[in-house]
Amino acid sequence: MRILVFLRQVPRLRSDTPLDETAGWIDLSKAKFDPNSYDLFALEAALRLTDASQTADGSGEVVVVSAGPKRVVDALKSALEIGAHRAIHVFGDCYEAMDSLALARVFRTVCESEKPDLVLTGFMSDDGNAAALGPMLAELADFASATGIVAIEATAAGYRVERELEGGAFEVVDLDRPALATVQSGINEVRYPSLKDIVAARKKRIDTLELPAAELPTSATSLLSVAPAGSDGAATLLAGSVDEIVSQLVAKLDELRVL
């Protein structure tokens, strides 16, 4: 069983992160980056599936893929330390600003050469929150797919997944191989690499893939502006010492007649 995990490296948003008005995005030049949280759940889910298949018949490989400039190698290395077997770095600065559809086109090429049984990726990215890459890739690669899964197990024909719906409802879906699923939080707790894992990761392969400029897809969306999200109605902020704040809170609770 070969599982591809697409892992995004996302910028950390801090209260002092500057915005880049022309790009309609945050200024990435000084940002610190982390692996996308949902993608790590996808990686862990992939590892649990291959741990099981390796025990059963010795097969099973998790290949982690990330597109972006040189810095995304850090995210790939973390994934190799956590337990991915091999990594592919789709190298280029252009991927930073690509929308989900353009990235899905790039990743389809990777799917064509790697021929995975299963693709797992996070439900959404912590930065763009688009929740689109996975299902778009499934459409382009012609895979069965399910989004927002909180459980997965291998079956004879493919995978049985549980999708989380709204208000505590779930839906069980059988996917034929090859399949793609996007992973929701709560599915697992991501393992911490041991020192041994970290050392072992240094020997793992990171292949670099550079696409010819002519083959690079273009985004179908354009960002016009970015700003702090607006308020419905401004909250009254309490100020003062802890005691002063507490007495104002108590007065408010009194007024609301909840005491």
């Binding site: 912590d126 459409e139 719906l165 969306t221 419905d232 909840v258």
Partner: protein
């Protein structure tokens, strides 16, 4: 004539409120571009829903009524959507950002090779500039971007509340036009619906609570949650709520989760402690009558909906508040 296609959604045989909001949004897009609005209803036994919808739109309603469409299945619903897209030249396809919307809409966009704009919260269109612009929240609701589809075609999902459902045209007395859509479903689905399950809630019904004290990831860990959130809830006679990461990490059972994938609550008072206020959390509590937020980040989106805020360390404020309340209860 080009069209704006609305793919509506049913819950227990009834159209979702969000579907009416979509129709209102579609009417605005259609007017700006001189297009017609076409709404699609997919399900089993849905003619009543189709009639209801026809009264709320200026355009046509297409019905895909088939016993195999009662439960959502990606390939079946996609086949129906494609049949509708063959029948109308859709400039925009609108869906709601729901489990069906986020499963199907990006696939439709990729299949059509058009832009996808997910979880939009507002629409700007009209005026001299014919290009529609969509607002969407990013970074968990902290920032807002304005996005356009330069080629003029897109599949868009909207969050609930992006429009008022009553913004559409007045109720029509003539009942509008309802047409049957002809389609064929794939004989072999590669994604098969097996069953639907619901968690039993484990006896925690937050929807009936007058006061809820909720804690988020900012509380720190399970021990601190028990140390600062639970005593405050006790002092207030309140129910205990939580954001998703709290239940993901097992600090509390899932039944305490507030939000789009947890419980939707409307208490008199909601106290959010160490909760950033991501869209999915807000969806579960923004209609509380009064919201107090305690979060040390003044830019946290929870302050977008809060009435009263305390920008400070919750570990300083909450124990002091709990103590003040206990003293008061003891008559001191």
């Amino acid at each position: 004539m080009a069209a704006v296609l609305v793919i509506t959604e049913l819950v227990a045989g009834k159209l979702r409120d969000e579907s009416f909001e979509l129709v209102a949004l579609a009417e605005r897009l259609a007017v700006a571009h001189g297009d017609e609005v076409v709404s699609l209803v997919i399900g089993a036994g849905i003619s009543a829903a189709g009639q209801t919808l026809a009264k709320r739109t200026s355009g046509r309603v297409l019905l895909a009524d088939d016993s195999r469409l009662g439960d959502y299945g990606l390939e079946n619903y996609r086949a129906v959507a494609r049949a509708a897209l063959e029948r109308v030249d859709a400039r925009f396809v609108l869906m709601s950002a729901t489990p069906i919307g986020w499963d199907l809409a990006p696939r439709l966009a990729a299949g059509l090779d058009v832009a996808y704009i997910g979880s939009a919260t507002a629409l700007e269109c009209g005026g001299g500039d014919a290009k529609a612009v969509f607002t969407r929240r990013v970074f968990g609701g902290k920032l807002e971007t304005r996005v356009a589809a330069p080629a003029g075609r897109a599949v868009v999902t909207f969050d609930g509340g992006a429009a008022s459902a009553t913004q559409g045209p007045a109720q029509r007395s003539d009942g509008g036009v309802v047409e049957e859509l002809s389609f064929s479903l794939p004989s072999l689905a590669r994604a098969r619906f097996v069953e639907r399950r619901s968690s039993d809630g484990a006896g925690v019904d937050l929807t009936k609570a007058d006061v809820i004290v909720s804690g988020g990831r900012g509380v720190g860990d399970a021990a601190k949650f028990a140390e600062v959130i639970v005593p405050l809830a006790d002092a207030l006679g309140a129910a205990v709520g939580a954001s998703r990461p709290v239940v993901d990490a097992g600090w509390l059972p899932r039944a305490h989760q507030v939000g789009s994938s947890g419980q939707v609550v409307k208490p008199k008072l909601y106290v959010a402690c160490g909760i950033s206020g991501a869209v999915q959390h807000l969806a579960g509590m923004k209609n509380a009558q009064y919201i107090v937020a305690i979060n040390r980040d003044a830019r946290a989106p929870i302050y977008q909906v809060a009435d009263l805020g305390v920008v400070a360390d919750l570990h300083e404020i909450l124990p002091a508040l709990t103590q003040a309340l206990s003293k008061r209860a003891a008559g001191g």
